[in-house]
Amino acid sequence: MIKVVDGNQAAAFGAKLSKPDVIAAYPITPQTPLVEYVATMVARGELDAEMVEVESEHSALSVLHGAALAGARTFTATSSQGLSLMYEPYFRTSTLRLPVVMCIVTREMISPQSVWGGQQDAVTVRDAGWIQLYVENNQEVLDTVIQAYRLAEDKKVMLPVNVCLDGFYLSHMAEKVEIPEQDDVDRFLPPLKMDYIKLDPKEPISVDPLTPGGLLTHYRKKHMEGLENAKEVFEAVDRDFGEIFGRYYHGKIEPYRMDDAEIALVTMGSMSGTARVMVDKARERGVKVGFLKLKMFRPFPKEEFRELLEGIDVVGVIDRNVSFGFSSGTVFYELKSALMGHHEPLMASFIAGLGGMDITKGHVGTVIRFLEKIQQTKRVEKEVIWMDLEEEIWEKPLTR
């Protein structure tokens, strides 16, 4: 079925098709319509799930903890301040190995006061043990939610997954989306089986006893192994998905026109589409540029990056977020440390699109020209460039 839906609605369809048992969510801009869509589906009887209209995000995730321990497949979504209120149960979701799927409709963190897009919320919690997937368009939102359940519930993984979609640029953007058939989704996604941790009077165990350090270290190691397994499992999940639904997303990182590239751009989220357009344009000028769309930010696909960037002269990373303290974009510094001791291209970090600012074709075009200059001079004069603040390199975003 073809429908015109916004990103929030696409996520709701993805959740519905995955047949969750319990949904708990608290509305927050720009995720609010997602909760409304799901609530409407439940109210109309199209989605048979327990819907818990909680009083806070903290409770939203907490309700899912209880439900998952009782064996439920669960769904929630949040954004920004909601995610930070969730931080306490957020960390615990992964450390209890509960395969919750949660959309983060990414948004800036306060302050200054802002309700607009930016990936600051989601990237800030990157070390809390979840898997994080960032998507480019609404079809990918829907498909990735379904994939997220397969990934989360894989016995080699058993970890919660965030599907991160850019606030407004995806959440409120409507476009054509193919809604998969329920039969196909059922074929792709088997029912959830939780038997390694559960609350059931028929088999009384305790969940989360006080744990001494040695044993805790063991759990941490297992957790990290689960995350590492997720890299391989996700490739298989994506490929399976492609076979059934005809849409394959190239797993953790999608390379675009990288075959003979000397310059590479790295992007995450909705800006990737704009990057495709501008890479094509630059290719018309004869620039050997390609780009890598980072989908799986956590676990960070270090090995794949090393392979894909082998022999590349210059890498530019556009981040819709900042890493306070490392003083660059977050993906930039993660990538930089991943490449350490391997082939190390010249690298520059571009910070753009904060607080709902558009990342325009003009922006991406400017980044590519900047990277060309680095390639010519073989020098990185400035490692971190704030796109809208540095007049000398900023072409007006009106440039088409």
Partner: protein, 188 residues
């Protein structure tokens, strides 16, 4: 690629109109994307929505800065926003106005106007002009057929009461019928 910008006030359905346009385009085998301007959608406050339509999948997720088509649901917002900002050469203006508006920039080459308030107030009890203006848009631009607009209304307004749906489709039909097209040659 065709870029359209819709201006209106919160409550007039600018955002919904943008989605309906995309739905109509998709029915015709095209691709489209609709993004609202990200201000607070308060009733009465000026709002914008951006639409892109193309034969190819639209990859860039950006706003519209140089629209070739401008839909103005409420001309009275012009004291609050400059809805002509950044318009392309050969711009087509579709405006809710009882007569040919004066003071239109020269970049505008075609004007379509319709008194959508007069049509919609009896229907809805308030100037909910979005669907009426889309009917006018279909006639003025010829980009999308009225039938596709009607399909778009049914898809995007799904879940609404049948009666409301019918009224909106009717509004689009009347808007289509009553829109006046003027090839604009600049100021007299």
């Amino acid at each position: 690629m065709i870029e359209i910008r819709i201006h209106g006030r919160g409550g007039q359905g600018a955002v919904m109109a943008s989605k309906i346009l995309v739905s109509a385009a998709v029915l015709e085998g095209k691709h489209g994307s609709a993004i609202p301007d990200f201000t607070f959608e308060r009733r009465g406050a000026p709002v914008k929505a951006f639409v892109k339509i193309d034969d190819q999948y639209i990859r860039e997720k950006t706003q519209v800065y140089t629209p070739e088509f401008l839909i103005v649901l409420d001309p009275s917002i012009k004291t609050a926003v400059d809805y002509y900002e950044g318009i392309a050469d050969n711009c087509t203006l579709v405006i809710n106005y009882p007569k040919l508006p004066g003071d239109v920039p020269e970049k505008v080459k075609t004007i379509g106007y319709v008194d959508a308030n007069k049509i919609t107030i009896p229907l809805f009890g308030m100037p909910m002009v979005n669907t009426c203006m889309l009917g006018a848009f279909a006639k003025v631009t010829g980009l999308i057929s009225l039938d596709s607009i009607k399909h778009g209304i049914s898809e995007i307004m799904e879940g609404m009461k049948d009666e409301m749906l019918e009224k909106n489709i009717h509004a689009a039909e009347v808007g289509y019928k009553e829109a006046v097209i003027v090839e604009y040659k600049g100021r007299d």
